[in-house]
Symmetry: C2
Subunit: 412 residues, 2 copies
C-alpha cells in the first residue's frame, strides 16, 4: 500500500473546537505530505457536513507559512459541526467519497465523532469499498475512554487552573467587600475541567475552596452549609462548578430559571441556554445567606484561548495527528490513536491504536479516587494525574510573610 | 528632605485589582529601599481600611524572593477595598498616621482613590501635619483623566483582544450550529475595555462584528436589526458588550431581570448582581430572532489573568510606582503620577505629575472619534491609540486560502 497515488485523503474536524485541534491537523498534514500514496489531501468544510454537501478545501494549495502557523492557531480552521447523522447520511457520505476517489479518512473529534468514524468504516466494509478510517481524539472534556487523556484538555485545564488561582487572589484582595465568587466551567457530563481548577492551589486557604462536579449529585442545602463554613473561617469563598451538575432527580441545577426544553440533535440538554449554574448558585447564596456573590463564565474563552496553551498538549495533539497518518500508510483502519502515559516523572507519553468501537459513544467519568469523600473537593491523586498535562506547576507567586503590625495609636 | 529617618512610608492598594498592580508596588519598594529617609516602609492591609484599623504589614521584613516575584503576581497583594470614607474617617486616618510617624503616603488606585488622597493631603495641610501624598494610577477601566492611559488597562485589554479573536474563531468554526456569541466586558461607565476587543480584528468578517459601549445610548430595536444584518451576511454574529450600557432612561440594560436596587457605598449600581447584560441580550436574540446565542462573561478572570499581561503595561505600572517615590523624595506632594505618550512608532512613554484635585472623581469617556457613526463599532483611530498598550499586534494566525472544491459526485 505504499505505491503512488492510491487515493485521496480527506480530513475533518468535529465538535467543540479546542486551542490545539489545529496542531492535530498540522501533524496530519506534515506526515501526509511525505507520502505520495495520497494523490490529494482535502479538508472537509464544517466536518461531516462538508462530506454531505461535497464541500472540500484543497490543502495541497496552502502555503508553507499557513501550515507553519496551524499549530499556534486556535479553534478548528476547517470549520466544525455538531451534526447527528441519519442512516441515509452514511450512505451518502460513502457515495461522495467513492465519487471523489477518497480512500483515506481522518476525523478529529470526540466520542460522537468516533461513532461516526466507526459507522462509516463498517459500512464501507459491508459495501466492499476500500476506505481506511482513523479517529484522532480531541475534546476539552477529557471524557474519552481508552486514552490516558485527550488533546485539548491540557490547554483548557491550564487556563482554568490559572484563571482560578489569579481570580482567587482577586477575591482575597477584595474580601472586605466581596464574599463569594463562583466560576463556571464547561463539561457536559463530567467534571474533568472543573477539577483542573485545583491545579494552581498550594494551600487550604487558596482558591478554589469548593468544587462541584457532575459525578456527585448536587444538594443545595449541603452546598449552602459548605459556603457558610468556609466563609466563617476565611471571610471569602471561591467555588468552581461544572455546568453539568444535577440534583437527585437528574435535573441540571438552575435550568428551570430560563428554558429547560432546548436540546441539541444528540438529545443533550443545552445548559448554555439558561443563565447558567454559576449565576443560579450566586443568586441562591445572596438570597439564602445574604452574602455578596459574583459569577464568572469564561466558557468559549477558556476552550480556545491561544496564547496560554499547554505545550505538552500541543505536542501531543500534533503527534496523534501524525500517528494517524503513519498507521493509515501501514494499511491500518477503523482505529483511534490514543495517548498512553509511559512515565510520570519525568512525564512521557506514547501512542497506540484502539478499535473505534471501543471508544464510540462511551464516556469516562472522574474516578472516585479523584473526588474527596464530601464530594466538594478534588484530591491530590488527581493533581498527580493532571499536572504533567498542563506543563507542571504554575509559576510561583509572591506571598507576603505578612508580619503585621497592629497597634493602637502608638509608634511603630 | 534627604536626611536619614525622616518618617515612615505607608503604601496602600485600592479598588478593583489588576494583573499588574503589584508591579507598581514593586516599583515603589525598589525605589524606596534606596532612600534611608524612609525609617520604615509599611503596607496598608486592605487599603485605607488598614489605616482606620491600624493594620499594617512591615514590608522591610519581606525576602528578596518575595519582592522579585511581586511584578509577576496578579491582584493586590496587600489587600484592597471599596470603602467610602466619611468625614470623621479622614481625621482618624491622620491621627493614626501621626501616632505611627507616617510622613509619606502612596495610594495605588482609581479616581475614587485619588479623591481620598487629595482629601487626606488637604486635611494634613489644614492640620499643619507634614504628610507627603502621592497617587499612583491603576484601573482596567482606563477612565482616569490627565493620563494617556492607566496601568492595568493594557493587560486587561490584551486579554479581551485575544479572547475575542480566538472565541470568534470558535464561533466561526461552529457557525453551522451556533449563530451568535455575546461577550460581556467590565467597565462601569466607560467602554475602553469593550473597545479593546477590536484590537485582534484584521478584517470585516472577523470578530467582533458589533461593539456596544456606555458612551452610546443602547436601543434594543437597533441592536436586533444589526444582529439580523450581520447574520444574513455571514451566518454568525460576534457581539461585545460593556456591562455598563444603558437605555434612553439611563437604566442599565438587563438590570430589571433580577434586582436593580443594589448599590455599593459610592452609590454605583452593582450590575454584577444581575445575570448581566450579555445574558439578557443573548436571551433577547433567541426570543426575538430565533437565533442560537451564547454569552461569555470572563469578568474577574480577565482583569487579573497573570500569564498573559502586556509587558509594556507591566513596565509602566512599575515606573509610575518608582516615580511616585522619586517625587516624594524631592519633597513633592498632593500629586498623581500620570503617563504621557512621547511617541507612537516606536511607542515610548514618560511620566509627569498632575495635581490630585484635577484627577479626583473625574471620568474619561471614549472620545467620539473612537466610535463609528452608527455607534456599534470601534474605529481605526482607537486601534492606533491602543495597540502599543497591548504590546502591538497579536501573533498572526493561519488563514486558509480556502480553495474550495465543490462538485456533485464527480472526481477531484
Amino acid at each position: 500500500m505504499t505505491t503512488q497515488g492510491m487515493g485521496n485523503l480527506v480530513i475533518g474536524q468535529s465538535g467543540g473546537p479546542t486551542a490545539v485541534i489545529n496542531a492535530s491537523l498540522a501533524g496530519v498534514l506534515q506526515e501526509a505530505n511525505k507520502h505520495p500514496m495520497f494523490s490529494g489531501i482535502y479538508g472537509l468544510v464544517h466536518g461531516i457536513e462538508g462530506a454531505l454537501k461535497e464541500e472540500f478545501i484543497d490543502l495541497k494549495q496552502e502555503t508553507k507559512e499557513t501550515l507553519d502557523r496551524l499549530s499556534t492557531t486556535a479553534s478548528s480552521i476547517l470549520g466544525s459541526c455538531r451534526h447527528k447523522l441519519s442512516e441515509g447520511d452514511y450512505e451518502r457520505i460513502l457515495e461522495v467519497f467513492k465519487a471523489h476517489g477518497v480512500h483515506y479518512f481522518i476525523y478529529i473529534g470526540g466520542n460522537d465523532s468516533m461513532d461516526t468514524c466507526h459507522k462509516i468504516s463498517e459500512l464501507s466494509a459491508a459495501m466492499d469499498y476500500e476506505l481506511h478510517v482513523a479517529g484522532v481524539p480531541k475534546t476539552i472534556d477529557n471524557d474519552l475512554v481508552h486514552t490516558d487523556h485527550t488533546p485539548g484538555y491540557g490547554s483548557a485545564a491550564k487556563f482554568i487552573a490559572h484563571a482560578t488561582r489569579d481570580s482567587g487572589l482577586d477575591l482575597e484582595a477584595m474580601a472586605t467587600f466581596d464574599d463569594v465568587t463562583i466560576l463556571e466551567t464547561m463539561g457536559r457530563n463530567t467534571g474533568w475541567l472543573a477539577a483542573s481548577s485545583v491545579l494552581g492551589k498550594d494551600s487550604e486557604d487558596q482558591a478554589p475552596h469548593l468544587i462541584y462536579v457532575p459525578e456527585v449529585t448536587f444538594n443545595e442545602d449541603r452546598f449552602l452549609t459548605s459556603i457558610s463554613h468556609v466563609h466563617a473561617r476565611l471571610g471569602r469563598v471561591y467555588v468552581v462548578v461544572c455546568e453539568g451538575i444535577k440534583d437527585e432527580a437528574g435535573r441540571f441545577i438552575g435550568e428551570h430559571i430560563v428554558k429547560p426544553d432546548h436540546k441539541d440533535q444528540f438529545g443533550h440538554t443545552l445548559v448554555a441556554l439558561t443563565a447558567g449554574v454559576a449565576f443560579y448558585l450566586s443568586n441562591l447564596v445572596r438570597e439564602k445567606l445574604g452574602l455578596q456573590s459574583r459569577f464568572l463564565r469564561p466558557a468559549l474563552v477558556g476552550r480556545t484561548f491561544g496564547p496560554y496553551v499547554s505545550e505538552i498538549d500541543r505536542k501531543e495533539a500534533f503527534d496523534v495527528g501524525r500517528t494517524a497518518v503513519i498507521n493509515l500508510v501501514a494499511d491500518e483502519t477503523n482505529f483511534m490513536v490514543s495517548l498512553e502515559r509511559l512515565s510520570d516523572r519525568p512525564y512521557s507519553f506514547g501512542t497506540r491504536k484502539v478499535p473505534l468501537l471501543e471508544v464510540a459513544n462511551k464516556e469516562k467519568l472522574l474516578p472516585s479516587e479523584f473526588i474527596n469523600p464530601s464530594g466538594n473537593m478534588i484530591t491530590e491523586a488527581f493533581k498527580d494525574y493532571a499536572l504533567p498535562l498542563i506543563d507542571g506547576l504554575l509559576p510561583p507567586i509572591a506571598q507576603l510573610k505578612g508580619i503585621r503590625v497592629r497597634k493602637k495609636l502608638s509608634s511603630f
